[in-house]
């Protein structure tokens, strides 16, 4: 962000530029600002179609625990719980694995290994979610059922797939955080006799703490919004599971999957239709809050994310 005014001194020939250039430069400016307009438009259209739900459905029903659209029961609670459950499971799996992989790539692996690992992670990021969902459906779910669950389509199945899908996000942002730690810290630690492990665990990771928090937040944002894979492998049963470890091994229904599964079948303008958009508002607000907070944290670090990539 420090480099945003790249032209030094006065602008030569500024007087001579013809208005063709003036138009081009204005268009470029408009394009830049259009991103703000677009995000505003997205929110506007979600509100336009979704806000009526809050007037049509009694608040007690909306906050209730029963999602039975056929009986006009639109309780969002089970969907929210489903989303949070699957996301929590995914993050519990993906954060340790992602952080450790980032540590390996940034601190331990020799250059040639890094050059193999990095494209592999990028490749993982590139696999379409429907393909991973398909694998979860035909391979992972049967395996989990064989392992003793009553069905293979559970919150846990979704968490595993989601964990894999959010790994690239978590790895690359953790890597950024680790690489932002000055080399002097490592040199200093090693010079006073710390082992490599002590340097990593007591010096580098604590110094990268805020960046790692950002990585976790972006991972959560990625996981909570994932749709197709979750739709295919979590079983889509809208109940609030009883508290306990067993809740991970029951079918759940997430907010995203509900929209994807039901929007095709509702009449435009019906209460059900409005409520699905209201879920969209909820998702927008949640991810907007997470990403704005993460963006602000990145800003306070004064570091341009992923600037080392090219």
């Amino acid at each position: 962000m420090e480099q945003t005014a790249p032209f030094i001194g006065s602008r030569p020939a500024a007087e001579q530029r013809h208005w063709g250039e003036w138009i081009i430069e204005k268009l470029i400016q408009v394009a830049g600002l259009s991103t703000i307009v677009i995000i505003g438009l997205i929110f506007f259209f979600l509100l336009r179609e979704g806000l009526p739900a809050f007037f049509e459905v009694p608040l007690r029903t909306l906050l209730g625990g029963r999602w039975y659209p056929i009986e006009n029961l639109f309780g969002l609670w089970p969907l929210l719980v489903g989303s949070l459950l699957v996301t929590a499971g995914a993050i519990l799996i993906a954060v340790p694995l992602g952080l450790i992989t980032a540590i390996y790539m940034g601190e331990i692996a020799p250059r040639w290994q890094r050059e193999i690992l990095k494209p592999l992670i990028e490749m993982l990021a590139g696999i379409p979610s429907i393909v991973l969902g398909f694998l979860g459906w035909v391979v992972l779910a049967p395996l989990i059922q064989q392992a003793g669950a009553s069905t293979g389509l559970t919150a846990f199945t979704g968490s595993i797939i989601l964990a894999y899908m959010s790994l690239p996000t978590i790895i690359s942002s953790s890597e950024d955080a680790l690489s932002a730690v000055p080399t002097e810290y490592r040199d200093g630690a090693l010079a006073i006799g710390a082992t490599q492990w002590q340097t990593i665990w007591r010096v580098v990771v604590p110094a990268a703490r805020s960046g790692i928090v950002i990585a976790i937040m972006l991972g959560i944002g990625r996981a909570i919004g994932e749709t197709m894979a979750v739709l295919m492998v979590t079983g889509n049963a809208a109940n609030v599971p009883a508290l306990g470890l067993g809740m991970f091994f029951q079918p759940v229904r997430t907010m995203t999957a509900t929209i994807a599964a039901e929007m095709g079948e509702v009449a435009n303008g019906s209460v059900h239709y409005h409520t699905l958009f209201a879920i969209g508002i909820l998702l927008f607000v949640i991810t907007f809050a997470i990403n704005s907070l993460a963006g602000r944290l990145v800003g306070t670090q004064g570091k341009r994310r992923r600037s080392s990539q090219l």
Binding site: T4, A31, I39, G126, T195, A260, F284, S292
Partner: protein, 281 residues
């Protein structure tokens, strides 16, 4: 246990875990090849499905995705590249620029299904395009903006300041400098961004569910105002909605989609590695 022993043990543990994380990526791809390759042949790629999608090929879905991806490109890239030029060359470090950056971070974080809702509300219904290629392309175009903008901006920023200084000192205007010095140097990086965006658009399912995708169409779309089949949605349909669907066809379809998207990612990675290697400055 001595410090050195702990050190060795922990380093070994980290290495093992990193390998455990990465191996499945290779396994997934090999597994898809192993199961899907037998279904792949010329006929599979060039014929339409029949008998309730159970037999025949994937031609309409494959072509639909190709159309859709190109249409997305036309919507997204002029805007994305202009926005990247703005951020890299024109924007000052002020409130407005920070708002633009925040908007891009947030666009990148919006769930794809929410893009689908937006496309339905804005393009399909409000603008009256109906379920059509243009509605889907506009939706996917907006979805790919953040990837293309940030990659292109990085590429432009990577062009050394000296190029600009020299050009300006020779009397070129700001736009001439950007047009004839900066953009040509940044072009490979910008193309990387474009290809990454294409890969993203080709593989997405949720945004096209209510904006373009049809379960089955006997004919190919004739204009951008027609519905179309699309490969990711086709995979979803045959995997979950068609009872008695032969598994080999499902794997074959998934493999074609994977190959399509991964080859785009691979090309982008190759270009990027080449830039890093051959950069003379």
């Amino acid at each position: 246990m001595s410090r050195q022993k702990t050190n060795q043990l922990m380093i070994a543990l980290i290495t093992t875990i990193a390998i455990i994380v990465v191996i499945p990526v290779i396994l997934v791809i090999l597994f898809m090849f192993y199961n899907g390759l037998s279904a792949l042949n010329w006929e599979f790629l060039t014929t339409a499905p029949y008998n309730g999608l159970r037999q025949g090929g994937i031609m309409p879905a494959l072509l639909g995705t190709v159309y859709l991806t190109f249409a997305t490109a036309i919507v997204s890239f002029p805007l994305a590249i202009a926005a990247a030029i703005y951020l890299a060359e024109y924007a000052r470090d002020n409130r407005l620029t920070r708002a633009v950056r925040l908007a891009i971070v947030n666009l990148a974080g919006i769930p794809s299904i929410v893009y689908g809702l937006f496309g339905l509300g804005a393009f399909v219904l409000f603008m009256g395009f109906g379920t059509s290629i243009i509605a889907g392309a506009l939706t996917l175009g907006i979805l790919t903006l953040p990837v293309v903008i940030s990659t292109a901006e990085e590429a432009i920023l990577a062009v050394p300041q000296e190029f600009r200084t020299v050009s300006l000192s020779l009397g070129a205007t700001r736009w001439q400098t950007i047009r004839y010095q900066v953009l040509p140097q940044a072009l490979p990086g910008i193309i990387t961004g474009i290809i990454l965006g294409l890969g993203r658009a080709a593989g997405e399912t949720a945004p096209i569910l209510f904006t373009v995708a049809a379960v089955y169409l006997p004919e190919l779309p004739k204009s951008i105002f027609d519905q179309s089949m699309a490969l990711p949605y086709h995979l979803y349909v045959i995997a979950t909605q068609v009872p008695g669907m032969p598994l080999s066809v499902q794997y074959g379809t998934a493999l074609v989609l994977l190959l399509l998207v991964l080859s785009l990612t691979l090309v982008a990675t190759i270009i990027r590695t080449n830039i890093r290697r051959h950069r003379q400055w």
